[in-house]
Symmetry: C2
Subunit: 243 residues, 2 copies
């Protein structure tokens, strides 16, 4: 893990890093020392580790909870090179959708493929982050919706250090099997008029989670329209389970 | 409105009253003076105005939010006499269920019948309560699940003083039509394994609400198993909309 830049603002220290070829960002409270909870955040499709909805949430987790927060670019996103293999598959899927095929199973298959790469990448990032003096071996949380849910479900299922997760805006096609191996508390966000994830698919993914404590928060509106008060709820959820 | 008793404990003043033949209870902060938000609570089937789940919530609304809270007995419940007409219908329904009929439409029909009596009763209670010096004309909220939802949906739909409502554990059969006339913010509680309200019926009632802001909170477990953290959420919901 190599740190490449560092800035600070309003009490939040931001460090950019690379782990092998993976670019990442770490936010911690300014002056933080010693172990603390760590939240790993998975960004959405076409976005990156410092997308506005990631940064907004990360800063609140740091400022209001005192946690560390990290995010890394997904293959083919952000500061990572385009990936010919993924591009070829994506172009093929695009052609099939234009020929009339249902996009949902194609997206699901693609996310499952990418997850086979991101799960070990994110576990390696956790390993490296927990060696830092100002993170250490504290409880770990995961936050990810949309693509961050499609990749997050297999990650949370595989990684026993994750003790609580906020997921959502994803469907059962992509990850019901992995969801059935998740037993930690989950807050699951669903948009009632999601134009990308059919409602029944989202409800089925929530249903598939094996967690004894799981709570579905459904709100009206489209895929990108999660209301701002859900972030307040997310803060309390992580405070309750990691704090 | 006639007050029949008064006690105080831990900062909460409790006044029992009758309004005509309707027995009710009012909780306010000790020493309260002047207008404040008022939450009307509708109790569950077979319960009453001072059932433990009503009292627990009411005390927190008073202590943590400084609101006034009132609850009245539903016909045939609590300190009200048994009602021959309702008893006759209930007995008839019971016989039909034993003969193999689906109970859901029977319960729905029964709740719709009782609501024709409780909606005007609760409106009269609001009128009288808002004349009290320590309540006055402030914003009004409604809380009711199960029977309190079946009776609450037509009440909230009819009563324009209600500005926000917590509803749930009810189905669309009983009240989808009235739900389509509700436009105020609603927090809707659903139990994922509700043995009394089929999941699809609960989701359909949430779907039927015309509110621009409505939020569905679904949790695993049976009809009576709403997790304690939902009360924290309810407090924040009412604080946001009535505070």
């Amino acid at each position: 893990m190599r740190f490449t830049s560092e800035t600070s603002s309003d009490g939040v220290r931001e460090q950019l890093f690379t782990l092998g070829e993976i670019p990442g960002v770490l936010w911690t409270p300014e002056g933080a020392a010693g172990a603390r909870p760590l939240i790993l955040m998975g960004h959405g499709g076409g976005q990156h580790k410092k997308a506005p909805d990631i940064v907004t949430r990360a800063r609140r987790f740091v400022i209001e909870l005192g946690f560390a927060v990290a995010s890394v670019d997904v293959p083919g996103h952000g500061d990572r090179p385009t990936d010919e293999r993924y591009d070829r598959i994506a172009a093929g899927n695009q052609a099939r959708v234009e020929a009339g095929e249902d996009p949902a199973p194609l997206i699901a298959g693609f996310q499952a493929l990418v997850a086979r790469q991101t799960v070990p990448e994110w576990r390696a990032a956790l390993d490296a982050l927990q060696e830092l003096e100002h993170i250490g071996i504290g409880p770990v949380g995961y936050w990810g919706v949309s693509l961050g849910c499609g990749l997050g479900v297999p990650f949370v299922a595989a990684e026993s250090r994750v003790r609580a997760a906020v997921l959502g805006l994803g469907g059962a096609l992509a990850s019901a099997e992995a969801a059935a191996r998740i037993t930690v508390p989950v807050e699951f966000l669903l948009q009632w008029h999601d134009e990308r994830v059919p409602r029944a698919q989202g409800l089925a993914l929530f249903d598939a989670l094996a967690s004894a404590e799981k709570t579905l928060h459904a709100n009206p509106g489209k895929h990108g329209g999660t209301p701002p008060f859900e972030l307040d709820s997310t803060l309390r959820f992580f405070a309750r389970h990691l704090g």
